[in-house]
Amino acid sequence: MSGATFSGASRYVLDAELAQIVNVSMALEMPLLLKGEPGTGKTMLAHAITESLGMPLLVLNVKSSMKLVEALYQYDTLTRLNDSRFGDSKRDVSDIEAYIKMGKIGQSFTAERRTVLLIDEIDKADTDFQDDMLDVLDQMEFDIIEIDKTIRAKHRPVIIITSNAKKDLSDPFLGRCNFHHIAFPDPKMMRKIIDVHFPGLNGALIDGAIEAFYKLRQLEGIEKRPATRELINWLRALQSDPDFNPKRLKEELPFLGVLFKKSQDFEQASRLAQRRGRY
């Protein structure tokens, strides 16, 4: 497992810098914190790592109301209550451990092989959750209070943490991970990304779409800028329209709703699209 290095996957275009950071983080056994605009492929990176290294992926989708213990394990009291009432299950009611279910972090600790643990959108949870979780990930062990047992990680998972945060995470948290900010891809990189997603797509269409896309991104005062995900969906929409001719991209921009999801943004973009038509 130590020999495994990450070098990209079939549907993910990786820049060399990020690849190196991923490999160093794996070697140093530190979690990697990824920040960046929504839609720059933070989550996709974890999928790409699992694909290229052939490790199973466990995704912990952080929710705002989440408590740390939910991510570690769950004590299924209801089933136990039920079993004790009816007594028809094969489980031993007096054995609490039979009613402990592992959460995502617990699963990654107890897995028989090394896993990739993706902790998605950590910023949604409050700071206490974040700090406590990092403690667990640092120690690579946690206690199950109900049965007084310590779960120790069999294999240190590769931990990828993503954050959309505008607010910074706490200092102790940051101190324990490596950090990378995924910048929005430049047009050249974007071209590569599109090529990976749409092999053999009409070149004129891609060029036109990318050009229009970057122009639209530069509009002043847009609240939610369209990202890679939107561009891919947009291309899919353009592709599926049988009447669509790439040359017309110069004059009009169809399906703007795919790119702009806020009504104000949409109006502004449509105004620009109309202006393009006139000149």
Partner: protein, 396 residues
């Protein structure tokens, strides 16, 4: 190794920690770094924990390893052309002591609009730097424009604020980003704010209440009955509007920073807006009060149960508050006097308070504080005042 580099980063304001530095050495030790390029990437990932400092890191890196000159610290973002022009004349403002009181009665009659006109005219006529005198723009004169001068109700052009009444800041683009740095903690303030947290059961009933379930099951003689509750959620929305403008708020910055830090840590949904002195048709989403305008009408569409908290010294020239077009910004000409805007906000959001960093004992000396405290319940920005404000905000 690289200890120089480490301290250079620190000196230039990149928060790097010794632990991270040790981690970097671990990486070096494991032969993960083979070239300078590797070093660049890895040390950034390990040492720098926020993209905010990437640029600074790049500069320090280039300086340390390639000897590139470090650019001098440019504190102020200047974008207006006029400012560049005026700065030439207004460099090195001279101390002014004597030229007080001249033309006071006459100059007082000038309205802000006339002042701006006067300023523009003088700007056209004037071609060189000018100090003293009573007509030209320069430093330390009694002309109504220029700075460091004394003119009741005059316009300040850059420079330092001396007289609280002389305000018409034409060339200001300076800002304090309270979010960037602040004192770390102030537990008492946190405690006070915590009381604003309203945990209420909300959403679907999907959580099993084990105690109640067991109780009910016992009551049913062992026949299982499961009791569900809905989970507790913090539903309180908060708008924090901060006066981060200009000079009069400067003494209170540490206080406001603490408040800001705490508000961000405590509440799920805090919207922070900025204004200068008082509110006209727009507030700003960015600390520079430039890029992200938020109009009052947009605000009015928010949940009226939102708690609106103003933080500001509420001290300004009375006309800023009362007059139509009273704004000290030339571009801000909405036609509605600020006081009407404030009343509109107070009506829209039932639960609103104004926190004033000025000590309560001094409120009576400033007229605008009195006026605003009649619109919004005003509290001193102190632990006591904060608790009272919180009590007011949580009252149904």
């Amino acid at each position: 190794m690289f200890i120089d580099f480490f301290y250079k980063l620190r000196d230039h304001g990149v928060p790097v920690s010794p632990t991270a530095f040790l981690t970097l050495h671990k990486a070096l030790d494991q032969k993960l770094i083979q070239s300078l390029d590797d070093f660049y990437t890895v040390s950034r990932a390990v040492l720098v924990k926020s993209e905010r400092y990437f640029d600074l890191y790049d500069q320090v890196f280039a300086h340390h390893f390639e000897g590139v000159e470090l650019p001098a610290n440019e504190g102020l973002a200047i974008d207006e052309m006029a400012r560049a022009m005026l700065e030439q004349w207004l460099q090195n403002p001279k101390e002014l002591a004597a030229a007080l009181g001249m033309d006071e009665a006459e100059l007082q009659k000038l309205t802000p609009e006339q002042l701006i006109e006067y300023f523009k005219e003088r700007l056209k006529e004037q071609t060189e730097r000018h100090d003293g005198g009573n007509r030209w723009i320069g430093t330390g004169g009694t002309s109504p424009v220029g700075h460091s001068g004394h003119h009741p109700g005059g316009m300040r052009v850059g420079g330092e604020s001396r007289n609280h009444s002389a305000v018409k800041v034409a060339l200001e683009r300076r800002y304090k980003d309270y979010s960037l740095e602040g004192p770390l903690t102030n537990a008492m303030m946190g405690e006070a704010l915590k009381r604003l947290r309203h945990l209420r059961p909300a959403g679907p009933k999907d959580q099993v209440n084990i105690d109640k379930s067991i109780y009910q099951t016992m009551k049913n003689a062992g026949e299982i009955e499961i009791v569900f509750d809905s989970s507790l959620k913090d539903r309180l929305k908060i708008i924090l509007a901060i006066d981060n403008g200009g000079w009069s708020m400067d003494p209170y910055i540490p206080l406001v920073q603490t408040l800001f830090d705490y508000a961000k840590a405590q509440f799920k949904e805090v919207k922070t807006l900025f204004f200068h002195n008082t509110v006209y048709e727009t507030l700003w989403g960015d600390p520079a009060r430039y890029k992200k305008p938020v109009t009052l009408n947009e605000l009015a569409r928010r949940d009226p149960e939102t708690r609106l908290i103003f933080v500001g010294d509420a001290s300004m020239a009375p006309y800023e508050l009362m007059a139509q077009d009273g704004s000290i910004y030339i571009t801000d000409r909405s036609g509605r006097p600020s006081i009407a805007c404030l009343e509109f906000l107070a009506k829209t959001f039932r639960h609103s308070v104004w926190l004033n960093p000025v000590r309560k004992g001094r409120w009576n000396y400033t007229r605008t504080i009195n006026v605003i405290s009649q619109i919004f319940p005003m509290f001193e920005l102190s632990i006591d005042g904060l608790e009272k404000a919180v009590a007011r905000l949580t009252a149904m």
